[in-house]
């Protein structure tokens, strides 16, 4: 550190003194002034661009655009999904659709139904027993409207309508895996899902 021992000869030592402390009157460094001034002037273009641009550049403008792009990309291939047995069963056979649904299942459903649908607080989805459904349309209704007395939320209020159909298909696809869960079978054994061909995506750009 010895090389730093330059003595500030050019500096003016002021003639006051406080409890032995004296002060130089060195000029403030030039870069300090420049950056300070720059940080003040930065205000004007920033406000102009982010609050007054004609196209809209506010946080909410940017968010709306981001959401629109996202939903266009995500649901463009799926189109509007109808909540009927044909679509739901067909989707449950489509591996790409199931991959799309898996993330939502993990985020929204797994906390009660287990990571693989084996049940936790909520019922096991991998066996043949159902508490509130006797058909696949019922299963959709349970997801969409919820079962308040059982603590099942109404996902129709929180998710995109097509997404509820997609998640129903995912839940339906879990049936028959027979994973052991903490609870025994709940409800009644119901008839198998009807058979429908695999749901084909409309041709066009890929989901992502």
């Amino acid at each position: 550190m010895d090389q730093n021992q330059t003595s500030p000869t050019q500096a003016e030592l002021l003639d006051h003194e406080y409890d032995g402390i004296r002060e130089f009157d060195n000029p403030t460094p030039g870069w300090w002034h420049l950056i300070f001034l720059g940080s003040i002037l930065f205000m004007f273009p920033y406000i102009l661009v982010f609050h007054f641009s004609p196209g809209g550049c506010s946080i909410y403008d940017q968010f709306d655009k981001e959401m629109a792009d996202f939903y266009r990309a995500k649901f463009a291939r799926l189109g509007t999904l109808e909540p009927n047995a044909e679509t739901i069963v067909g989707l449950s056979k489509n591996p790409e659709a199931m991959l799309m649904a898996e993330g939502t299942f993990k985020g929204k459903c797994a906390s009660c139904h287990g990571a693989n649908g084996e049940g936790l607080v909520g019922p096991n989805l991998t066996d043949q027993f159902y508490k509130n459904a006797t058909s696949i349309e019922d299963l959709y209704r349970v997801l969409d409207e919820g079962v308040i007395s059982a603590g099942m939320p109404a996902w129709g209020r929180q998710l995109h309508p097509s997404e509820v159909v997609l998640i129903t298909a995912y839940a339906a696809s879990l049936r028959g895996k027979e994973l052991p869960g903490p609870k025994g079978p709940e409800g009644d054994q119901i008839a198998p899902w009807p058979d429908h061909p695999m749901f084909e995506f409309e041709s066009g750009e890929s989901a992502q």
């Binding site: 003595s7 002060e23 403030t28 919820g146 308040i148």
Partner: protein, 734 residues
């Protein structure tokens, strides 16, 4: 000539309190850091769980450790800079014991769950009143009294910073804590939602500015040139950076609320003024580091200067990082993550901690009038402390960025890559353990200091020598010396006047007028505050009304109070930002109108657990009760403490009535609930207990606290998706 003796006994007291509370604050910090790495360390007791201890840690670190350090610095340096004993020994002692009493009150009430739930302003109203009395009535009067009876005509820069700190902290404290009591240790702030958030972060940010920055700059300006025995680098830089810092700092608070329901113009102002703060802050760093020019060889051998150099360096880093984090797009990533935690600890451990340690090592020989017991131990403290800080902040920076990136990651199918929040928590565990090591080292360093203090104290003389100083009293007929004449003086006198203005000779005159100086400082702070506060409160469009938003039912309010008591806001935010990843994870972004009945707001500042703004209706009652009883049973890898006592403790139905009335006084339209809140709460509790019984195995829960908390959680965020009420005027029901 007048004779006087400095009061060093009071400095010794504050210095000892600093060291003792420092060890306590670091110890509690270490405990809560361990709790995050391993929830077992919550010990299963209400008063040792993270949500209650985290405020204890922050309050102890800020107000007990840093606070006492500031007082020690002020009492030592002010007397010498003013060539006068403190104004009143009685006030000095009232200040000391009053402040320690406040700290003890905090240490008792916070773990017991008495809290206002506003960060760094958690203490309940009786303690707030005590703080105001001690700060203004004892400390303020004593300090300004000393200025008035001083024998040194001009005020040195350290005193400017003390003035700004004392005035501004008083203003911040009073206005952020305005509230209506609803019991001996319970109150509701007069502000709600967006406005409460704004006031809180106006306060919160300026607590950092005027409690942890300006007084420590004052400390630096006195103790650094004394320890280095070098003149201060630049007087004119002191002037420029003092005024720019004081004026600009106060605007910056809204950067804590980027992307929230705060109006965007306020957020923009907060960001722009934060960016402007970079150079004024660095002015202090430059003046500190360049004062050491010509003394660098002494840094190698003197632990005091080592602490100062590293402290000031951390100040420079933190005040560069602060403006960086205030930029909206950076904040989008950093907010709610550990990045903020790393940032504040670089500041608190590095700047506040090391400046304090340096000051104490310099003071010890002077206060105890003997040599420092062990310089080697002090140097060891320096190295252990430095390694401790690095081991703390580096992994926590990594944790923050990891978390921020994981929260926003999408996979190829357009779904969140880590939809389950706990996946992101699991990633942080190794970093949390390294932090525990870093924190331990920092604590060990503080213990070494404590040992050095005790051993030096033991070597003190039997009787302290009281040096009698002499100085003339200030003459009342002082006239400022004429400025040096230049060619302009005789030729163009008006131009010379302008030149003198630019040179700042007016400032030299202010420096001998403490009242005028204080008034101008107050004006600088107030003008900036009012520019932001008035529009936030007056512009109606800042908080667009949502017709379906209603007050919490009496039971939900009781549940909210439990949420506050347990300090849930320390880990859970209630503010979904308008961002794709947040909307996918948590639902519709939060809107200002949803919070109009939230006294206090509970937006939080950190997501150790997931956001709860729209948790209502997403899980069954059964799930919530099970989860509160034993979180790890439902969520593997969760680091949430168990709250099983909520299943045993009884709801205080009688207190609900008082609380509803207090809320009604604040203008919350409670309708019939103002008179029969307790009955309404009982009825709703029975209803929820019945539903719970249908859903799972829990029976006879209708009077337990958990029912109230579940009622509150199930309500959160649901108002916007329910149909319009038929009779919109009726309040108090959901």
């Amino acid at each position: 000539m007048e004779e006087f003796v400095y009061d060093d006994a009071i400095v010794r007291k504050f210095m000892l309190a600093t060291v003792i509370w420092g060890v306590v604050a670091f110890l509690v910090g270490l405990l809560i850091a361990t709790q995050l790495a391993s929830p077992f360390h919550n010990l299963g007791l209400p008063w040792t769980s993270f949500g209650r201890l985290r405020p204890l840690h922050t309050n102890a670190a800020i107000f007990a450790f840093a606070g006492n350090a500031v007082f020690a610095a002020v009492y030592y340096s002010t007397q010498r800079l003013c060539k006068a004993r403190m104004f009143s020994d009685t006030l000095s002692n009232l200040h000391f014991w009053g402040w320690q009493g406040i700290i003890l009150a905090a240490a008792l009430t916070l773990p017991l769950g008495f809290t206002q739930a506003k960060e760094y302003a958690e203490l309940e109203w009786p303690i707030d009143i005590a703080i105001a009395v001690v700060w203004v009535g004892f400390f303020g009067v004593n300090f300004f009294g000393t200025l008035l009876k001083r024998r040194e005509r001009h005020l040195y820069v350290a005193l400017w910073f003390y003035i700004a700190s004392i005035v501004t902290v008083a203003i911040l404290h009073v206005f952020n804590n305005l509230s209506i009591p609803a019991g001996m240790l319970k109150s509701y702030p007069i502000y709600a939602g967006v406005q409460d958030a704004f006031m809180q972060w106006w306060y919160g940010h300026n607590a950092v500015a005027f409690f942890l920055t300006t007084p420590f700059l004052g400390l630096m300006y006195y103790f650094l040139p004394k320890a280095a025995n070098r003149p201060v680098y630049s007087y004119r830089l002191s002037i420029v950076h003092f005024w720019s810092l004081v004026f600009i700092y106060i605007w910056a608070g809204p950067h804590h609320l980027h992307y929230t329901a705060l109006p965007e113009w306020a957020s923009t102002l907060g960001m722009l003024f934060s960016v402007m703060l970079w150079m004024p802050s660095w002015g202090g760093m430059i003046n500190g580091l360049l004062t050491l020019r010509g003394a660098w060889q002494r840094v190698a051998e003197d632990p005091v200067l080592k602490f100062f150099v590293v402290g000031i360096t951390f100040y420079g880093m933190s005040t560069f990082e602060g403006p960086l984090l205030s930029i909206k797009s950076v904040n989008a990533l950093s907010h709610y993550t550990d990045w903020t935690i790393a940032h504040v600890h670089a500041g608190a451990l590095g700047w506040n901690g090391f400046m304090t340690f340096g000051m104490i090592y310099w003071l010890l020989p002077k206060l105890f009038q003997t040599e420092l017991w062990s310089k080697k131990l002090a140097t060891t403290h320096f190295w252990i402390g430095t390694i401790g800080i690095l081991l703390y902040v580096i992994p926590i920076y990594a944790a923050g960025i990891t978390q921020g990136l994981m929260w926003r990651a999408f996979d190829a199918t357009g779904s969140l890559s880590y939809p389950d929040f706990v996946e992101t928590t699991a990633q942080l565990m190794p970093m949390y353990w390294i932090r525990v090591v870093g924190g331990t080292l920092f604590l060990v360093g503080a213990v070494l200091l404590l040992i050095n203090v005790i051993m030096t104290w033991r070597n003190r003389p039997e009787q302290y020598e009281e040096v009698v100083h002499t100085a003339p009293a200030l003459s009342p007929t002082y006239v400022d010396p004429d400025p040096p004449a230049t060619v302009l003086t005789s030729n163009i006198p008006s131009a010379r006047k302008g030149e003198l203005f630019l040179e700042g000779s007016w400032h030299r005159r202010w420096e001998r007028l403490p009242i005028k100086f204080t008034i101008w400082t107050t004006i600088a702070v107030l003008v900036a505050s009012l520019f932001e506060i008035i529009p936030t409160f007056l512009i109606k469009s800042n908080v667009p009304t949502i017709a379906t938003v209603e007050p919490y039912t009496p039971l939900e309010l009781a549940g909210r109070d439990i949420y506050i008591e347990e300090g849930c806001y320390n880990c859970h935010s209630q503010m979904i930002r308008p961002m794709l990843a947040e909307q996918e994870r948590y639902g519709q972004y939060s809107m200002a109108g949803e919070f109009v009945y939230d006294h206090p707001f509970q937006w939080g500042s950190r997501r150790i657990g997931p956001d709860l703004a729209r948790v209502g209706g997403k899980y069954s009652h059964d799930w919530h009760v099970l989860h509160l009883e034993n979180p790890q049973e439902l969520v593997e890898g969760s680091i949430m403490p168990k709250y099983d006592w909520l299943l045993d403790d009884e709801i205080d139905f009688d207190a609900i009535q008082t609380r509803v009335r207090a809320m009604a006084m604040l203008g919350v339209p409670y309708g019939e609930a103002v008179n029969n809140a307790s009955e309404m709460a009982r009825a709703q509790a029975e209803q929820i207990a019945r539903e719970l019984e249908e859903q799972g195995g829990y029976t006879d829960m209708d009077t337990k606290k958990v029912i109230a908390l579940v009622a509150y959680l199930q309500r959160l965020g649901t108002d916007i998706s329910k149909p319009l009420p038929e009779d919109a005027g009726e309040g108090g029901g959901s």
